[in-house]
Amino acid sequence: MVDKMLMMILIPLITAFLTTIILKQHKVVWTLFLAVSGYLSYTLFTMYGAWDLTWSIELGYKIFDSNLVLSLANNPLGWFFAFFASVTTMLIAMFSIAFNDDKHDSKTAPIWLILIFANIGIFFAQDWLMFFGMWEMMSMSSYFMIAHGKEIPAKAAKFYLSLSLVGTSTLLLGIISVARLSQTFDINASIDSLINLFATDYNKAILYIGLFAVTFFIKSAVFPFYMWPSKAYAESPDDFTPFLSTVMSKYGIYGIVLFILPILQNADIPALGQINEPAYILAVLGAITSVLGTILAIFETDMKKLFAYSSVANIGYIVMGLSTLSIIGIQGALFHSINHMVIKSAIFLSLAAVIYRTGEREMHKLGGLAYRMPLTFMVYLLGIISAAGIPPLNGFASKWLIIQALMSQNMLFVVIAMIFASTGAFMYLFRVLASVFLGQLPDKYKHIKEAPLLMAIPMTIIMLLMLAIGVLPGIIMKPVNAVLIGMGYDVQEASWTTVHSAFSNSDLNVTNIFYIFMAGAAIALVFYLFSAKSVKVTQDDNYTAGELPSDWGTTPERFNFSYGFYQPFKEMFNPMMDLISFDRWMAAFGKIVERISNGLSVLYTKSEGAILMLYIGVAILIIGGWII
């Protein structure tokens, strides 16, 4: 019997090499990909509860008087993320078979498999060496994945890579400093030693945590690094974007829950309000992330960029939930991580189906696709209802938990930010619905068909999943609580239907909401059926003050009001947008540097930002190495 852990990590890797050999058979390649993710999901399913499963190898070197060991261990938190990530991957893989069928494209599959290999490695890594190696592997392979051999995506990928480099260098620096402190590379030992460090040298401890935090923030696109998703998500292959948004944005969250959270909770840090100062900084960063992501999403015209910012905003919610340091907040954050996986895969897959059929990413060039692609429309509709956190679907319970946690910790202004972001979410979510799926159907899309069956199946499964989680939050809450128990929190086993709050008389029976919703629907339907029947008219039969739009040469595309959907709102924000635009900052900064170092200006002529980031990364490594 081969070690289960080893098998799980090796199979994607072996398949990756195998697929490179048979790259021409795109159908076989993608089916293999599906099989691997199916196998992983199944294995992970069987691994639930077997927390003593480990695999390790001694390297035979010694640093800091301890043996270097590469080890993987099944742990509740890693299992939680890995399992749901691989289920999501399985659904996306099914979608990919159909998506890449026409293009005969399979060159991304091997890299994707390596990415999955790294994915498992990160979630089950037991020591920092393994973690770092896998992290680096993930950064590199995702760089190639985003670039996928095209020119414009390569630019975005370069930006992503240079940021990743900053991240990995700070991570390396952090790992080395912490390992020097704890004399071992073991993660749990390093947590303990950092907790001890807080008692003696507060500033140094904060600095060490900050080094890790920068890495995790970059990977999850938390505030100072919120800008890469809009570039990378938009340019990456359409079937890979869901993976990027659902799974890869969670690495940072995983890191925070794994490493930073236990320290903040257990260390002896002076309290500030009901939490402590680093947690407050985390909360404020989360709040800024979600508000900024929301506002930027509202103004975006490219639908993939829009949802990239939406992902940023959702990560902001999760970070806010974590920052409460309370059980309910962490429950909410973990629950929302999974909800975000489900919701974003629904949304990005339906958009990928739209792009697959139309080849268009700009929202204002589309319209009226609901009448041609009703299933895709329904998936998207349920997706946005969830994403907006509206009750009978899954996004609600997790947002509710986060809001309750924030309120019970008296983090008033963070709650306001959260409410702002989730109301604003409504604006951008609806904008895509109105622009892409509703309105007039442009002539060139008159003969568009529904997405093919293999795309429809995963989309339908995700749709049902959203409904199921929405009605029975226990599906996710039970594993969440199991994870929390495994992490040493004092929580009860979760109920199937009810989520608990810290307030009095405020527990919420989510299933009841569904029943009430159904009751409301029944009453509304009675009114609807009781009334006189309606006459169907053509889509272009609109009230236009008696004019015929075609008399004025107005095509359906131009008739749709979708380009400057929130123009007045945008004008309110224009002065602010100039201030916060990272690109402009980087460009301005780059120009100043260019002026100073005129002789070296060659380096700055193209994509100042990216190269500058690269230099910062290198500089951090050099300076950091020197100090240590």
Binding site: F530, S531, G546
Partner: protein
């Protein structure tokens, strides 16, 4: 339950039910005032505190989709007529048309104008016409009350006339809007400019 065809099958159907529905219809008349001419000026007094039309449940609406009555307030030129017809056809049934002033009956003071239609009833079915140039607000209010009586009695069915005699209305409309030759022989006197500059060089 509610059946739109109840008006058509009135003889076979339960009279009482229609009467009930007609009551609700007459007590809630929403109008689209198509301000073609000077008649629109007489509507504000009818709507505001002097005569207050709203006490009968009559109110202005912004679009034909919501409206029950189409008010043609005064003369309508050929160009306007096209918009009126489109607006009328966009209204859901049951719908009624109220024509204001002499202009909509026989052209009024614009009877011999080259671009004002004479009799509105030739192009769309009119339920009630109000004579006068302009009709007084009392007359407008009176016509509304008359329309309400007609609705209650089930007499206001001009919109069905439009369906039944569509060919007649359509022919009249086409006479205005379809591509046509000159109406008068004098059209031959038109000056047609011929480009001469090009030839000089």
């Amino acid at each position: 339950m509610f059946n739109i065809n109840s008006l058509e099958q009135q003889d076979n159907q339960d009279k009482l039910w229609d009467k009930v529905i007609n009551y609700f219809r007459k007590r809630s008349l929403w109008m689209l005032h198509y301000c073609t001419g000077c008649g629109a000026m007489e509507l504000p007094p009818v709507m505001t505190s002097r005569w207050d039309m709203e006490r009968f449940g009559i109110g202005p609406m912004a679009t034909p989709r919501q409206a029950d009555i189409l008010l043609i307030t005064g003369y309508s030129s050929v160009r306007t007529m096209k918009r009126i017809i489109r607006t009328y056809e966009q209204m859901p049934e049951p719908k009624w048309v109220l024509a204001f002033g002499s202009c909509t009956v026989n052209g009024g003071m614009y009877w011999d104008s080259y671009n004002v239609i004479n009799n509105l009833g030739e192009y769309i079915p009119v339920d009630i016409t109000i004579a006068g140039c302009m009709p007084r607000p009392e007359a407008i209010l009176d016509s509304m009350l008359k329309l309400m009586d007609m609705i209650q009695a089930g007499e206001a069915k001009a919109f069905r006339k439009y369906k039944e005699n569509y060919a007649y209305y359509k022919a009249n409309q086409d006479r205005l809007f379809m591509e046509r030759g000159p109406v008068l022989e004098s059209a031959a006197l038109r000056y047609v400019h011929e480009e001469t500059e090009g030839g000089e060089a």
